[in-house]
Symmetry: C2
Subunit: 248 residues, 2 copies
């Protein structure tokens, strides 16, 4: 899983917060000029190549971070090696647990990743004094909890085919499309193996069900990572998702 080059990350300096592509969606979204300046004083960028480990479960965390670009996978593992991805962090998502010493799970770069890191202790202190910051973090954490619960439904009750469809729909949603009815193109940010780990399936089942959706015309493949969805409504119908149940 980890490449030949051990956990070594390059550090880039600087970059103005004002020009930051995630400025208005990340933890810092609600911050005002002065608060931003305080954050800027304790921030530094780090980059990771696809496959590198960012954090180990149980590690002492000395920073928290916003994902600037790329995809970070959070995973947990059983003693015999079975692995489950428990979160997928995309641009603007937050990595780390303020107020906690140790990481609750592994974090791996699923693609090349750039993080905007904050040293943990100054960040914790800043949280105390900056309601805009802690309020935004609560908001983001609640959203993540909702996402985790939706994923529990998928893992507990959906068929393999529904899981694949749901995954593609989720990526489509987060990459911005999937509102109008028009055809829609997207790129899968994960290998088949990582998809399996996310969906609670084996790599073979992922491959077979992607193939089945392709044969049935729900998706069109364009290389291994590219996917075109000719009819988004059709894709959504494959997800098995809930509609509001009639009351009683």
């Amino acid at each position: 899983m980890i490449g030949p080059m051990e956990t070594r990350a390059s550090s880039t300096s600087t970059g103005k917060c004002e020009d930051c592509p995630i400025r208005h969606r990340a933890v810092c979204a609600h911050c005002e000029a002065e608060e931003l300046a305080q954050l800027e004083a304790i921030k530094f960028y780090r980059s990771f190549e696809a496959g590198q480990h960012i954090l180990w479960e149980g590690d002492r965390m000395d920073f928290v971070a916003s994902v600037v670009s790329g995809v970070v996978a959070l995973t947990r593992t059983l003693e015999d090696g079975r692995t489950q991805m428990t979160g997928l962090l995309l641009a603007s998502d937050f990595l780390g647990r303020p107020g906690r010493e140790n990481a609750p799970c592994h974090a791996t770069a699923a693609t090349d990743v750039t993080l905007c890191c904050f040293r943990r202790q100054p960040f914790d202190r800043l949280m105390q004094s900056t309601p805009h910051l802690s309020h935004r973090l609560l908001e983001m954490t609640l959203d993540e909890l909702d996402a985790a619960r939706e994923w529990m439904l998928l893992l507990g009750r959906k068929t393999a085919r529904e899981r694949i469809a749901s995954f593609i729909a989720m990526i489509a949603r987060r990459q911005g499309g999937l509102r109008g009815a028009g055809p829609l193109h997207l790129d899968l940010p994960l290998t088949r193996e990582a998809m399996g780990d996310y969906l609670g399936l084996t790599i073979e089942t992922v491959s077979r069900q992607v193939g089945a959706l392709r044969r049935d015309g729900v998706i069109v493949l364009d290389g291994l990572r590219g996917v075109t969805v000719p009819d988004p409504a059709r894709l959504l119908a494959e997800c098995g998702d809930e509609r509001r149940p009639a009351r009683q």
Copy 2:
């Protein structure tokens, strides 16, 4: 699922915060006397019988609440009726989403339940002005997120037997025992059906695996709900849980 008596809850009045059994673990844990008084002004108690619905998915929520006693189940449902429990709230846990209008999932009383409710809008306002409150809520939400992720690992990768063992271990942990090595008694707060919904299994599989653990001497049953664990270490070994993996 719902009993013959529709969603009708009795309202009890009063009860001093100082004497409250969950005073030091709930959202109000860090609050000081004056803050507590403000909370007390907007609070009211509600009781629900086992099986009653507390909230419907998508409902407008006009209150948030702390669980004073009993067990609340959060569930989500697919269009064809498949159900997954996404959270289990025990005494001191928090129900509801400040800052959100609508409930993200059904909430049902799994046992008789007493809630300490706060009207939502005053509570939201209080959150803005009371860092102790929002800070504690962030803490609790992060814990819940961790719990949700642990459950994702269970749902995605554990066998039926491991799921049952993990569930019993979780209940043991939350009911206070499970630290020393001595034998240990606990009561399951859920029916077999609810356990199935929580564990992503059918009721038959739950029944069979509980039976298997009994036959293998891991647990001793005492009626349908009572469980004695003669050797807690043995139970933990059945959970398949992670140990820290050797680093590379």
